[in-house]
Symmetry: C2
Amino acid sequence: MKDISLIRRFAAFVQKDAAFSLALRTMYFDMSTIAPKKGAEYRSTSLSILSGEAFTHATSKKTIALLEAVSVQEENDFAQEQAKAVLKDLERIRFIPKKQYVAFTKLCSDAENIWEQAREKKDFDMFSPYLHRLIEGTKANVKTRHRIETDYDVLLGDYEPRMTQVEYDRFFNVVKVQLVPFLHRLLTEGTKPDTSFLYKDYPVEKQKQFMETLKEALFLDPKSSYLATSAHPFSSSFSKYDNRITVRYLKDNVTSAIFSLIHEVGHATYNHQIDQKHEGTVFFDNMSMGMHESQSRMMENMLGRNRAFWVNLYPKLVELFPENLSNVDLDAWVGAINAVDPGFIRTEADELTYPLHVLLRYEIERDIFNGTINVKNIEAAWNAKIEDFLGLTVGNSAEGVLQDIHWSSAMFGYFPTYALGSAYSAQWMMAMRKDLDVEALLASNHMDTIKQWLEAKIHRYGGSRKADELLREVSGEPFNPQYYVDYLIAKYSKLYQLD
Amino acid sequence: MKDISLIRRFAAFVQKDAAFSLALRTMYFDMSTIAPKKGAEYRSTSLSILSGEAFTHATSKKTIALLEAVSVQEENDFAQEQAKAVLKDLERIRFIPKKQYVAFTKLCSDAENIWEQAREKKDFDMFSPYLHRLIEGTKANVKTRHRIETDYDVLLGDYEPRMTQVEYDRFFNVVKVQLVPFLHRLLTEGTKPDTSFLYKDYPVEKQKQFMETLKEALFLDPKSSYLATSAHPFSSSFSKYDNRITVRYLKDNVTSAIFSLIHEVGHATYNHQIDQKHEGTVFFDNMSMGMHESQSRMMENMLGRNRAFWVNLYPKLVELFPENLSNVDLDAWVGAINAVDPGFIRTEADELTYPLHVLLRYEIERDIFNGTINVKNIEAAWNAKIEDFLGLTVGNSAEGVLQDIHWSSAMFGYFPTYALGSAYSAQWMMAMRKDLDVEALLASNHMDTIKQWLEAKIHRYGGSRKADELLREVSGEPFNPQYYVDYLIAKYSKLYQLD
C-alpha cells in the first residue's frame, strides 16, 4: 500500500532542499555580478553557514531513513526514482564525519586563497603543499564510501556516471593519437585565416547592443532569463523559468562575449527545456557534467561557429562596427572565429586545441590518484606535455599549472568531462542531421526548431536519464569518440585547405 | 561564572539567524530588481519555505531556552543585551501556534493578491472582507502575548518602542491643529512656485548619469553600496559594507529618482555607519521605524531639499538638461522642488502635506482597533478626512483607501512611524545646528562632515539605543513635535511669501 505520509514527507524534504539550493545560487550569482566588494567577508560567512544547514538537512539520520524508505516504495515510481537518485548523490558526503567535512571545506577555502596568491606570484611551490593536503583529504573522503573502485574511478564517476579510467583512457587515446599529429600538420602545412580584425577597438556599449540581437537569434526567452556581467562567464539555473547567464566584455576582442553568451545559452536552454515535472526535484540539475557541457559546446561551436548561423547575423555585426568589419566578408569572419591558435590558457583555447588542454589535466590527475607522480613534479610534467601537445614553452606557473581554480577546490575528476562533452556533442550532431537540415535552419533563423529537437530528444529528461543511455537511444549506438575526431579533422582540413 | 559554551552556542544562533536573513534579503532584492518574471512562482515557494526555516530556527524551544539562559548571564553584558533584545523581538511571533502562524501568513499572501486586484478594479468592497479577517487575525496574534496594553498599543510599540496611542494622539494633535489651518492659509494666501519645468522630457539615460554625481555629493561609498532599478524605490542593508538601493526613473519627471535616491541613501547611511561590533547582531537592524525614517526624511528633505545642497549640484543638472533648465535659476529650482501640491497619493506627497496623509491612516487604524469603526465604513471615513485635511474629493478607491499595501500585509501600527520619523528629524536638525553650520557645509560639498556627526551621535548605536533615549541625549530634551511644526511653518511661510 502506498504510504501517503511518507511521500508527503519526502516532498517536503525535496522542497526544502530546493529552497536552500535556490538561496545559495541567488547569493552566489549576486556575489559574482553586482555585490559591493567590501561586503564579501560577511557574505562569505553567511554562505558557509547556509551550506552547512543544507548539508545537515540533506544528510541527517532522519533524512537518510526517509530516503531509504521512499526508495523501496514500489507503488510510487516517480518518488522512488528520485529518492534513489538523491541517495546516490548523497553518497559523496553522507559518510564523512561532520568534523572531517567541515575541516575539508575550510581547507578548500584556504587553498583557494593561497592558489590566488600563488598564481599572482607565479609560484607553484607556494601552492603545492595545499594541493598535497587536498589530494590526501579527497582520498580520505572517498575512503568513507567503502567502494571497491579505485579512488580516481570513484571521482570520475561522481561527475560522469559510468565513466571510469579505462573508458577515459580509451576516449583520450582516440583524441591524442589522431589530433596531436593532425594539429602539427595543420600548423605547418595549413593556411591560417587572418584574425587581426577581431582584436581592434570594439566599444563595450555596442557589444552589449549586439548581445540583444544574439539573444533573439538564439531564441532565449527574455521573460525567463537574465544576462549580467561578471569577471568570468557562467550560467546558473534558478528554475525552469529563471535562467541566469553572465559574460564579460573585452574592449579589444569582439568574440569573447559573443561565444561566451552562446556557450552559456547552451547550458541555460538545457535547464529551461527540462520537463516541468522535474522542476524542483533532484532531476532538475543532476545531469552529468559531460551531458551539460555537450549542450553548451554544441551551441557554441557546432552551431554558433557554423557559417550558416552567421549568414543573417554577420551583416548586423558589420552594421555595428563598420570601421572594423566593413572590409571583412562573411567567409573571412567565419575563418577568423574558427582559427587555430595554440596558447597556454585552456579557457581561451580554440576548438581544436581545447581537448588537448583537457587531456593534459586528465593525465596528470590520473597519475596523482594512481600514486605515480609526486605533487612537486606536477609542474614539470605539465610543462613537458604543453610542449609535446602544443609545441609551446611555458613561461611561468600562472600561464601553466596554476591557471585553473578546480584543483584548489578539490574538484578532481571534473576536467575530463569538458572534453567528453565536446565529444558527445559531435555524436548528437550526427543524430540531429538525420532529422534536420541544420545549415538550412540556421541560415533561415530557425534555431527554435533545433532547440525543439534538443528538447524532445535530450533536454526534457533532465538528470533522469544518463549519457550512455541517451546516446544509445538518440544516435543508435554507444558513445563513440570517433565522430568527434572525424568532425574536427574534416572541419579543419577544409578551413586550412589541407590536401 | 561565565558559561563559555552557552555564549558560543548563542553566537552560533546569531550567525545562523543572520545567514537566513541575508539569504532572504538577497532573494527579495534579486526578485525586485532583475529576476525574470516567469520564475516568480517557483521562487515564491522557496522564499516561504526559507522564511519558515528561519521561523523555526528562531522560535524553537531549544532557541528560547538558550536565549533565556543568556539573557541572565550578567558576566557578559553584550551577549545579555542581545539575548534580551532578540527575546523581545520574538515576542511578536513565538507564542503563536505554528498552525495559526502559517494560516495567517497564507492569509496575508492571499490578501495582497486580492488587494492588487481590488485596486485595479477600484473596488474596496472586494478587499474589505479580507481586511476584516486580517484585523481579526492580528488581534488573535496579539492575544497570544498576554499583554495588559490594548491591541493597538501593542502594535504601535512593535514598530516604535515606548510609543502608545496616548503619545501618538499628543503628537498628531500638535500636527493637526497647527498644520491643517496653515496649509489652508498657504493655499489661499501664498504664492506657489512654478513647477512646470520639472515635468518635461528627461531622458532616463541622462537621469542615470546624474545619479552618479548625486552619489558622490552624498559620499556614498561605491565599494559598499549598489544602486539598482525597481518598480518602487527601496533600500535593503545586507551588512555594514553592503547596502543596496533602488530607484525608479520617470521620463517626464526629473525629481522622482533624485529624491528617492537621497531618501534611500539616508537609510543606507544609517546601516553603513553602525558600529562594527553590532554587525550581524540583532542591533544591526532592529532600529525603530521612526528612527530609520528620521534618517531618510532628514536626508531627503532637510538636507536634500535645502538650497545650499544645490548650490554646486544644480549647475551640473542644468548642464545635463539645458533644454529644460537653462532658463531656470537656482531659486526657481529650489522653489519647485519644495512646492506644496495636495494630492491623493501619500508616496507622491510634498513635505507639508505628507504628515496629513499619515495622520489620516493613524486615525482610521486607531478607530479600527478600538472597535469604533466598522470595516465597511473605512472608505467613507477616508474620503471625508481627505476632504477635511487636503480639500480634495476622492474619485475612486485606487486613489483612496486602496492605495497602500500595508494593511493587506497586516502591517497595522506601522503608518504613524512615517510622520514620527519626520518629526524626529526636525529635532535632530535642531541639535545638529548647535554643532555645525549645516548650510555652509552643504554649500561647500561637505556632506561627509554631516554624516560624521550623524555617525557619532546616532548611527553607531544601531538598534541598541531607543529613540526616546537618544533624542534626550542628543537634543537635551524628550521628543518634542513642536520643532517639526515650527520648521515646516517657517520654511513654507518664507517660500510662499506669507506675511
